[in-house]
Amino acid sequence: MPSIHELERLAVQMRMCIVDMMGSDKAHHFGGSLSAADLMTAIYFHAMRYDPRDPAWPERDRFVMSKGHCVPAQYAALAMLGVFPTAELATLKQLGSRLQGHPAAHILPGIEACTGSLGQGLSFANGMALAGRMRRLDYRVYCLLGDGETHEGQVWEAARTTVRQRLANVTAIVDRNGLKAMDPSYDADDLCRLGGRWEALGWAVREVDGHDMAAICGALDWARAEDKPCAILAATVKGKGVSFLEGQAQYHNAALTREQIAAARAELEGRREQITEVGAR
């Protein structure tokens, strides 16, 4: 299992993959893909039982990207694992590409669920967990949601089902980056109630810093050990890792210039070197 330090390095690599595959001059979902990068790294490289050589292995842990517009982070994870060639990342959203703008499970190995219309992923994850129980397989199901996505009513239908069906192998991770496409996801009062909503439905809830790798891994380990469904509310920063994107709703889905991409890459390179140095010491 990779060390926390190694995971931090992988997270920077994931951010570089995201920036590279998106490139300049075309609108992409930079903000939410980057905010989720640490969570995605911990889920795929720390938590999941997964064999990249056999992404259809029946006993694999499953990951559902409910906030489907952030699938570039999942594409990066799958390419880094070797499920498909890294070179294919550059085909994102091009005609004929397997890397569709939103996840297409029947087109690209490693993608489990078709999402893109928000609010539906947790229900799908519950279905996978129910199938696991019926087929006597002990896999876990991880589902990443956006905080804005939890405005969708179906999320709460699903959250009720997870508990009612006692699907302790389902873990919901909320990428609480605080911004939607236009505005903040929650005002301060509303945000206080987010954890309470999950708790009221019977979930175990833990709040973590979504950019603190040790804390994220700790929460995922906690969720595995709990005997009821666990929700990890991860406080993140939209656009994390590229300073001029951070906390800016206008980069939810936007085109960057060539200069901006170069600056983003340089900043991430710097961060990678910094981590490498720390590791060498």
Partner: protein, 312 residues
């Protein structure tokens, strides 16, 4: 008068049979299991029955997750809720990846009756037909319902919409009936008019054909129980052999069987008039099933009258 059956009842029995035959069949229901008749499956296979509560959207997406893990979920509710309330979930999570999920739309059409417009699905065939990868089946009687249910659980693949009713209808097929996807079934031969019907309206069309005979008009009757993929050859044959083609369905004349047949005829440049019988561009309303069928002329007498009028 032969015995009449509600297709939803036969479906419940056939689903139970499918559950015994296939270990991967699962049933999901949203608080209607006595009405949808999944109660039989629930009692026999409690480990493969999921009571979702009143949460149809969640039910649809949960079924998608089950199907992605090699189970064959049957999703149950009233036809209206199943097709309209969860259209988005169905579209992106089931039809797009072509998952094998069976939607059993119960109490479809006008004959849902007293509950009125909110519960009467008059657009469901149109909605389901528009979805890529979807198969649309409308059984005409008990025999066909059982065959289609078992086929949907077994040899068929991808998303399947099965439209079921609560109006008692007699069997129009014999015990030798075999379901073949996309194959229309000719039930009666007559050279003047062809009645293309589906669901409850097949037996009504048979009655209408008999009434037309009394008026000196010979009518063929064809059961178009697979709406998608539609048997285009059956439509071509109707246009070759008849002066008038008639579609009869318990559904809006927009987008359902009538719409599908109109598309095939227009594509072929068939110069034969088409009469689409069903509900006009309106919502349903509360009344008894028979009152509603009478109001919209969807009875043997009503169909006969409309055909005579169209022939002039």
């Amino acid at each position: 008068m032969s015995e009449c059956y509600q297709t939803r009842y036969i479906y419940g029995e056939a689903l139970l049979e499918a559950g015994g035959r296939y270990a991967n069949v699962v049933a999901l229901d949203a608080d209607l299991y006595t009405s949808t008749r999944t109660v039989l499956f629930r009692d026999a296979f409690p480990d493969r029955f999921v009571d979702m509560g009143i949460a149809e959207m969640d039910m649809m997406s949960t079924a998608a997750g089950l199907a992605s893990c090699d189970m064959v979920p049957f999703v149950n509710s009233f036809a209206m809720f199943l097709t309209a309330h969860c259209y988005d979930q169905l579209r992106i999570q089931i039809c797009y990846p072509r998952l094998h999920v069976v939607l059993a739309g119960s109490s479809a059409g006008l004959t849902q009756g007293p509950d009125g417009a909110s519960h009467q699905s008059l657009e469901d065939i149109a909605l389901m037909r528009a979805l890529p990868n979807m198969t649309v089946l409308v059984p005409a009687d008990a025999i066909e319902t059982r065959a289609m249910t078992l086929a949907a659980a077994g040899e068929l693949d991808g998303p399947i919409y099965l439209r079921l009713g609560r109006y008692p209808v007699p069997n129009v097929h014999g015990a030798d009936y075999r379901f073949a996807l996309g194959k229309a079934i000719r039930l009666r031969e007559g050279g003047d008019v062809t009645l293309l019907a589906c669901g409850h309206m097949v037996s009504a069309a048979m009655g209408a054909a008999q009434a037309l005979e009394g008026e000196g008009i010979a009518a063929s009757v064809v059961n178009m129980s697979t709406i998608k993929p539609l048997d285009a050859e059956a439509v071509h044959r109707a246009t070759r052999e008849s002066r008038l083609v008639v579609t009869v369905e318990e559904h809006s004349i927009i987008g359902g069987l009538g719409g599908a047949v109109a598309e095939v005829m227009a594509d072929a440049g068939a110069g034969v008039p088409l009469l689409r019988l069903g509900t006009p561009d309106v919502f349903g309303e509360s009344a008894t099933a028979d009152e509603l069928l009478n109001k919209h002329g969807l009875t043997p007498t009503g169909i006969c009258r409309s055909v005579l009028q169209a022939l002039g």
